[in-house]
């Protein structure tokens, strides 16, 4: 345990000292500030255009353009881009060290390969968590500071749902937890591909390619795609949005959590299996 703790600390230090790590933090901060500025300037116009279609049915009163809505929009936008930022760090975790040769020093220490790959995976999850914390601060805290609090009005396939501002904080908490689980799958996939491949770029590109292919499959309502969709992790990556429906489909959320957790377990098991058998020739 002492040994594992030491390796894990080393991995966290390496993660935090790498300039690449801060690209993700910078991108999230910049995108949030950019969209917040745009909504501050043009948000009301856009919103009145969207709500126009409902005005014949009911009256909309109060502050619709509030911090909760901005956070919802930001989360919906960034959850698509964040896998790239996660892959940028986790896809390089093992393969980057193989390519640069530092893996030789790492593997000629007493620690087992299983401990090393687990430490790298946990460091990747820690980085993912940091990304989400920054997103949480920028998207929720800063947006509420700029736009104030209020009820969340969300549009989905069923129509318009309004969530009371008093009943929303716990939903955000669980939404970020599910988002963490979703990005945890990406981090685990990145770690796995990083164990298989020996250069830095291919695992990063491969993670994105897999996500793009799976997302495209998810977009089309074709019978042959419908069979495999429930098993694709990308299908469940957006299940955080279910928390903003009324009533909340807890059964669907639970299924998504199980599928995402299964994928994490699968990818990390494959990483350990493969890394323990790998010959280091670099």
């Amino acid at each position: 345990m002492k040994e594992f703790k030491a390796i894990l600390i080393n991995e966290l230090i390496k993660t935090m000292k790498r300039p690449r790590t801060y690209i993700g933090f910078g991108v999230i901060t910049f995108v949030c500030l950019m969209l917040q500025a745009a909504f501050y300037k043009d948000g009301k116009e856009i919103l009145s255009f969207v709500t126009q279609q409902f005005e014949n049915v009911f009256n909309i009163e109060g502050r619709v353009l509030n911090g909760n809505l901005i956070c919802f929009i930001l989360l919906q936008t960034l959850i698509v881009q964040m896998p790239l930022l996660v892959a940028l760090v986790t896809g390089d975790a093992v393969s980057g060290e193989t390519a640069s040769g530092t893996i030789r020093f790492l593997l000629t220490r007493p620690a087992s390969r299983t401990k090393i790959v687990l430490a790298k995976w946990l460091a990747g999850l820690f980085y993912t968590l940091l990304l989400l914390i920054i997103l949480g601060i920028m998207a929720l805290v800063v947006s509420r500071f700029i736009f104030g609090e209020g009820d969340l009005m969300s549009l989905n396939s069923e129509g318009l749902t309004v969530i009371s501002g008093d009943d929303i904080n716990w939903r955000w908490g669980y939404a970020f937890l599910i988002a963490f689980l979703s990005l945890g799958v990406v981090a685990s996939l990145g770690t796995f591909l990083s164990c298989i491949l020996d250069n830095s770029i291919t695992p990063i590109v491969s993670v994105m390619a897999i996500i793009i292919i799976f997302t495209i499959i998810g977009m089309f309502d074709l019978p042959s795609f419908d069979v495999i969709k429930p098993f694709l992790f990308t299908t469940h990556m957006i299940s955080w949005k279910n928390l903003f429906e009324d009533p909340i489909p807890f059964q669907d959320i639970l299924i998504s959590i199980v599928v995402l957790a299964f994928h994490i377990l699968l990818f990390i098991s494959l990483s350990i299996f493969y890394f323990n058998r790998k010959d280091i020739q670099s």
């Binding site: 030491a6 530092t102 030789r104 020093f105 000629t108 220490r109 007493p110 280091i280 020739q281």
Partner: protein
């Protein structure tokens, strides 16, 4: 004397290519052991197998009497190494890199201990520089520091002179001798240059195409009793006639154009040269090698 390393008939294949083929050798504790072979002979693959980076296809490796495949964890606490070129985290300082290695070995070093280590490898004053600003020679020195950080009993050095300037090579040689003689470290020193091994090692193995060619004490392998002498002479016919009528006839190995090859002890060479001068045969060139040098030249020439 106890055995530090016992390599027993290890083999390693990559697809159809056999990199190491039933290689065996033994390193005793206290040895500076030369691991010699031309480029591509299987040295690095063997060292990687000894450090657990590559799994052998067959055979067994014991280090300090313990099987590497069964007890890698405890063995690695006693072994330090530089395998191939030393690579570090370039975005971190040399000191931060060493702190990572110290932590990975569960060591808590004081600032003074780090200073001593940097002093030992000749990097004092450059501790806080980022490794990406280091030259190859400086990285080699830092590589040595990481190999020594946990005070290992056995140090495996894979071509550590690569990239070092002449002074760096001398410093490294002195450091290896100091570690061996003053601190009792066993050292396995791999090289493709025979003179490096000759100057440092007490025992050695020569490998080629993944197989052991010769193993033994360096002084015995480099004996001057049986030297290969090559003499280029001007008058071919006169030289052949003179040799045939002399006592040197049995020592003549072959003639290639004007190049006469003899096998004799080092002490006999001046007499042979005097003989040709007495016969008024012009000597254009003389060179000589011992058995091992001759053999090593042959395998490296065959490769190129």
């Amino acid at each position: 004397m106890n055995t530090a390393i016992c390599v027993r008939e290890i083999s390693k294949s990559f697809g159809n290519f056999s990199a190491v083929n039933q290689l065996s050798f033994t390193v005793q504790q206290g040895d500076i052991y030369g691991f010699l072979g031309p480029n591509g002979s299987g040295k690095s693959t063997t060292l990687r197998m000894m450090m657990g980076l590559i799994k052998p296809s067959a055979g067994d490796i014991e280090i300090f009497g313990t099987s590497l495949s069964l007890h890698r964890h405890s063995i690695m606490r006693k072994v330090g190494c530089i395998i191939e070129k030393p690579d570090f985290y370039g975005y971190m300082s040399a000191l931060d890199n060493l702190k990572l290695f110290a932590r990975a070995n569960l060591l808590t070093y004081s600032p003074k201990q780090y200073q001593d280590l940097f002093h030992l490898v000749g990097l004092t004053g450059r501790e806080k520089d980022k490794v990406k600003t280091y030259s190859h020679g400086m990285k080699q020195r830092l590589g040595l520091a990481q190999a020594l950080i946990h005070d290992p009993e056995l140090i495996i050095l894979d071509e550590p002179n690569t990239g070092l300037d002449p002074q760096g090579i001398i410093d490294l040689r002195n450091l290896i001798l100091q570690l061996n003689q003053e601190r009792g470290k066993t050292i396995l020193f791999s090289s493709h240059i025979l003179t490096e091994v000759q100057q440092l090692c007490n025992r050695m193995v020569v490998i080629n195409k993944g197989k052991s060619v010769v193993e033994g004490k360096v002084e015995e392998l480099l004996s001057t009793e049986s030297m290969h002498v090559r003499i280029e002479l001007s008058q071919l016919d006169k030289a052949i006639e003179s040799i045939n009528q002399s006592t040197y006839r049995p020592k003549l190995v072959n003639i290639d154009d004007h190049l006469f090859r003899f096998k004799m002890s080092k002490q006999e060479i001046p007499e042979l040269l005097r003989f040709f001068m007495d016969q008024q045969i012009d000597i254009l060139r003389v060179d000589y090698r011992n058995e091992l040098e001759e053999y090593f030249l042959k395998i490296t020439t065959d490769q190129s």
